[in-house]
């Protein structure tokens, strides 16, 4: 799965730690999601979408 998390985060000037705090996850988890090493669960994906006020499908897209 691909995602625009890094792009959205940096656009707001947040660090990975800032985003982790807002999502109640570790910086390591934010990094793993951003780099595509870990696909978040549906609840976490919804939380991310809600935080950025965007639909899930505009943040996460299916990979090849």
């Amino acid at each position: 799965m691909n995602n625009r998390l890094r792009e959205l985060r940096t656009a707001l000037g947040w660090s990975q730690a800032d985003l982790g705090e807002k999502l109640d996850v570790s910086r390591q988890t934010v990094n793993a999601v951003e780099t595509g090493k870990y696909d978040p669960s549906l609840p976490l994906a919804f939380k991310i979408a809600k935080l950025f006020e965007l639909p899930i499908e505009s943040i996460f897209t299916p990979g090849e």
């Binding site: 390591q28 999601v33 978040p40």
Partner: protein
Amino acid sequence: MRAVHKRYLREFFPAMLAYVILLFLSVGWLKTLEGNLARTLVTLLPVLPIAFVIRAMVRVIRDQDEFERRIDLESIAIAGGIGAFGFFTYGMLLNARVIAAPPAEAVAIWVLPVLLGCFGVVKCAVRLYYRAR
């Protein structure tokens, strides 16, 4: 450090300290103690804090975030497999009398430390795996 991990350390270290203190107390006391029931109770004294260590581990696994939990659960699964494989292999060698048999208690007492040791090493490897992937 996140709150869930601070809580883990607050629960883990006092329990380990209690284990060490009770272990020394128990070993010293057993030298002079008579009676099966009393010896059983004193022998099992250091086991109680280990139950609290396991409780702390269960609580941190349940309360940390999903990616951390995935790393821990993968590590426990792999470490359990390695530990069980190791003990099984050792048992086969003992059964064939290829190596000298230690006392049964020496083998049993090493089960938990081996599993926890394997978990620690495997967790480092799993974290590196996700970092490098």
